[in-house]
């Protein structure tokens, strides 16, 4: 098992290198001179423009820029700064906690609502409850998140005052509840459908029939034989999603003014700020890799047939 974990961790190295290389290449190819973005309406002297370009290695060959970046990241260089002259690691340190909290809350909402509702729908497959949840989940899947976000903000925040309108720098878990729900919506729909199908499939599985034949009560059968087996694909899906939730937070964070990773990345992309963009993506990649490892390990716990060597 430890051997397996070690092997997996080693495999993350090429993923990390590849992902940062690709994003670096893209930011490198991006049009526009980020220095002119810094300068604004006023003119800038060619000397200063060039000095700034040199400072950020903007005229170096692309592979060299990427190597500079790697060196800074791997050594956790505290002087590794974004285009605004502020240390990148400090920025990420500031933005990370709120996004992780938001994503974890969304994940929790996703898991609780998705599994509970999905299980009930699956137990009475094709009943009215199942049909209703199917329809609702499909509608949720087909409405863009920013429409949902604005509408909920308008009603809960502005009109009824039930939730804070925006979160801002002083975030608390209470303030994050509405944004987390908005973020979770699309995933809830998928989790719910996954749980429903999984439960329904397992209900008709042979070992469940056997359990029923043994005369076990319905509740016991569902708890011990159906749910446990049905959870495996659901847990996989939920776990893998932590990364995509953090990335998907771009829009939610914008709507609710949350100073998190998604916002940081969006602004960095718009500024052409390669150091910040690529570091954020690198962090996301690490989260993803870490989560898929965790999920695989949980898999082994939930399903005794799986063994890692």
């Amino acid at each position: 098992m430890w051997w397996y974990v070690g092997k997996r961790l080693l495999q993350t190295i090429p993923v990390f290198l590849g992902a940062t290389l690709i994003i670096y290449a893209l930011v490198f190819l991006r049009p526009g001179d980020p220095i002119l973005g810094l300068v604004g309406d006023k003119p800038i002297s060619p000397e200063v423009r060039q000095a700034l370009r040199d400072q950020y290695h903007l005229d170096d060959p692309f592979l060299l820029q990427w190597l500079f970046f790697l060196k800074d990241v791997v050594t956790f260089n505290p002087d590794f700064v974004g285009l605004d002259g502020q240390p990148v690691f400090e920025k990420i340190q500031n933005a990370f906690p709120v996004t992780v909290t938001l994503a974890l809350m969304a994940l929790a909402l996703d898991a609780v609502i998705g599994i509970v509702v999905g299980t009930f729908a699956g137990l009475r497959r094709n009943g009215w409850f199942d049909s209703a949840t199917l329809l609702v989940s499909l509608v949720l899947l087909s409405v863009p998140i920013f429409v949902v976000g604005f509408v909920l903000q308008l009603f809960f925040g502005v009109k009824f005052g039930l939730a804070p309108v925006t979160v801002g720098g002083d975030w608390t878990i209470g303030k994050l509840l509405l944004p987390a729900f908005v973020l979770a919506i699309a995933n809830i729909a998928t989790t719910l459908r996954l749980a429903r199908t999984s439960v329904a499939d397992n209900l008709s599985a042979d070992h469940v029939r056997t359990a029923r034949a043994k005369g076990l009560s319905n509740g016991t059968v569902v708890r011990n034989h159906v749910l446990r087996n049905s959870l495996v694909p659901v847990v996989t899906y939920i776990g893998i999603n932590l990364g995509s939730l953090m990335a998907g937070a771009v829009i939610t964070e914008g709507i609710f003014n949350i100073q998190g990773i998604g916002n940081l990345a969006y602004q960095a992309v718009n500024r052409g700020d390669a150091p910040v963009t690529v570091t954020v993506v690198a962090v996301m990649v690490m989260v993803y890799v870490f989560m898929s490892l965790v999920v695989d390990l949980i898999y082994a716990v939930l399903d005794p047939r799986i063994r890692y060597v």
């Binding site: 526009g32 898991a111 309108v165 002083d170 209470g174 446990r228």
Partner: protein, 542 residues
């Protein structure tokens, strides 16, 4: 055994989820700041908080409250001495002698001297220090066209320290209203402590600047991506004494979010109004609304170098496009009255402004004349293709007005017209700066100091730094330099003549003046716009 382990795992998961929800319910709001500390809208500064390094409002607004310059602006844009005892010109206004008042101190106790100013300005003008505000030093002798120290020099030769409290400024050419510039943040003094052993201003100083202004940073000061908090500076004895117990610049990523916070009572001042709220903000009773003509100018630039826009044909076509644009309709419908149709190239808040500049009828909507002019141009050379207006999508309302304007031109002139998006400001500026853009593009000007000349010289004078359309007209250049040296009515007459030339050539097509709009919480007192469309923060109270 295995079963029980799995059960425990599931149990832990549920317990964790439950506690998260419980915590969520318990998390009350922590606003409760009913003291006289004013929360104002801000954005995370993009540069260190150094006067010569900060060129955007996110850092500029805090700096203006942390520092005091030689002069300060009154609400109407006129200046009064602040740190300066006197600023006297020689006979022809080319050499200015500045005397600094005694008794001014930085918050760490260091006295403010002539050296505090001169050293900071030299630092800002030296390209080796990569300061973004070097541009402001270009009028001073010993700098090049963009305000850098001339090659081989570390200091600006036009700046001379006479004694502890006196220094002189020699200008390249006569400028009768030079002191007007000196309230801008690029001219603030910097204490000796700011410079590290290598002569550069330290990173620590950029994070926690020590100033001499009406406020000083609290112990927490600048919390990155969150806020900047400041309290009144007890030692300050200038023109802008704080009437509140502190300012907190809360950072936002969108003005929409900030607007919602003003409605919800979590923010006291938002010094602009998001486009989504333009139709409703003046009737919203959860807030107080402010809307008056402002100082920033918007235009469309159609460079001479574009096909069909050269010489006489270009003059006709620019005039046709100007007359085909219904400014009233756009300011009314797209901006809901938060813009005012332009009557000239400057701004109505300035001394000497008039709506009766000769030749400004070309700025009025006139479909038949527009068609006639376009047809006349077609006689010179037949038009083909699409007229395109480029805009940057990260500026509020740009997309809407560019598209509406294209639609008006399409309709009036019967040609193909479209708006073309550049996602960000820097992408548009790059193609504009390297002259590779092949279309008309959006331009704008926010003045550095309250003078009509600042709206003309830096943009339309031959070879000027912001002359994006490469416009050149010798008569115009001459009138502008004469006006700089002149005073009173003579000055305004010359400016009027210069504008008449511009109205004929239309190096930029004036569109509108951006109104100063703002919303505040209902219990906020003392809100007045200054000439920069900003509130005087020191005067706010609750």
């Amino acid at each position: 055994m295995r079963l029980s382990r799995r059960t425990r795992l599931a149990g832990v998961g549920l317990a964790a989820a439950a506690s998260l929800i419980l915590a969520a319910c318990g998390g009350g709001d922590d606003s409760g700041s009913d003291s006289n500390v004013i929360t104002v809208y801000g954005t995370n500064p993009q540069n260190p908080l150094i006067p010569t390094a900060t060129n955007e409002v996110g850092g500029g607004d805090p700096l203006n409250n942390l520092f005091a310059g030689l002069v300060s602006y009154k609400t109407d844009g006129s200046v009064e001495n602040e740190v300066a005892e006197s600023i006297e010109p020689n006979k022809d206004s080319t050499v200015w002698t500045v005397k600094v008042k005694s008794g001014w101190k930085f918050t760490d106790g260091e006295p403010v001297t002539a050296e505090s100013f001169v050293k900071a300005w030299n630092y800002g003008a030296n390209p080796a220090n990569k300061q973004l505000n070097n541009y402001f030093f270009y009028p001073i002798k010993g700098t090049d066209d963009v305000g850098n120290t001339v090659k081989g020099a570390d200091t600006v030769s036009g700046l001379k320290v006479v004694d502890d409290s006196t220094f002189t400024i020699s200008l390249k050419s006569a400028e009768s209203d030079f002191p007007l510039r000196l309230g801008y943040s690029a001219y603030f003094p910097v204490p000796a402590k700011a410079y590290g052993s290598d002569g550069k201003i330290t990173k620590e100083y950029g994070d926690k600047p020590i100033g001499n202004g009406p406020y000083k940073l609290t112990a927490k000061g600048w919390e990155k991506n969150k806020q900047i908090s400041m309290v009144p500076n007890g030692d300050y004895n200038g023109n802008r004494k704080a009437k509140n117990e502190g300012l907190t610049f809360k950072f936002y990523n969108s003005t929409d979010a900030a607007y919602s916070d003003v409605q919800g009572g979590n923010l006291d001042v938002l010094d602009q109004v998001p486009p989504s709220a333009l139709t409703t903000f003046e009737s919203d009773n959860q807030i107080k609304a402010y809307n008056e003509p402002g100082s920033s100018f918007s235009s469309i630039t159609i460079p001479e170098r574009l096909a069909h826009f050269k010489g006489e044909e270009g003059q006709l076509r620019r005039a046709a496009i100007s007359e085909a644009t219904n400014r009233e309709q756009i300011t009314d419908k797209v901006f809901n009255g938060a813009r005012t149709p332009a009557k000239d190239f400057t701004s109505p808040v300035l001394d000497g402004w008039t709506d009766k500049v000769e030749g400004n009828e070309v700025l009025d909507f006139n479909a038949s004349d527009a068609k006639a002019k376009w047809a006349a141009a077609d006689k010179i050379s037949k038009w083909e293709g699409t007229f395109t207006i480029a805009f940057n999508n990260d500026g509020a309302g740009n997309k809407e007005f560019s598209e509406a304007m294209a639609n008006q031109i399409k309709k009036t002139l019967g040609i193909n017209a479209e708006a073309k998006v550049y996602p960000t400001f820097d992408e548009l500026r790059t193609v504009v700066t390297d002259r590779s853009i092949k279309t008309a593009f959006r331009t704008g000007w926010q003045a550095d100091y309250p003078s009509m000349l600042n709206y003309l010289g830096p943009i339309y004078a031959t070879g000027a730094g912001s002359n994006d359309g490469d416009y050149s007209n010798k008569t115009f250049d001459k009138l502008i330099s004469e006006a700089s040296a002149a005073t009173g009515d003579e000055r305004y007459k010359l400016i009027g003549e210069a504008q008449t030339i511009l109205l004929k050539d239309l190096p930029a097509i004036p569109l509108w003046y951006q109104n100063a709009t703002a919303v505040t919480s209902t219990d906020l007192k003392g809100f007045v716009f200054n000439w920069q469309q900003k509130p005087d923060y020191y005067a706010l109270s609750k």
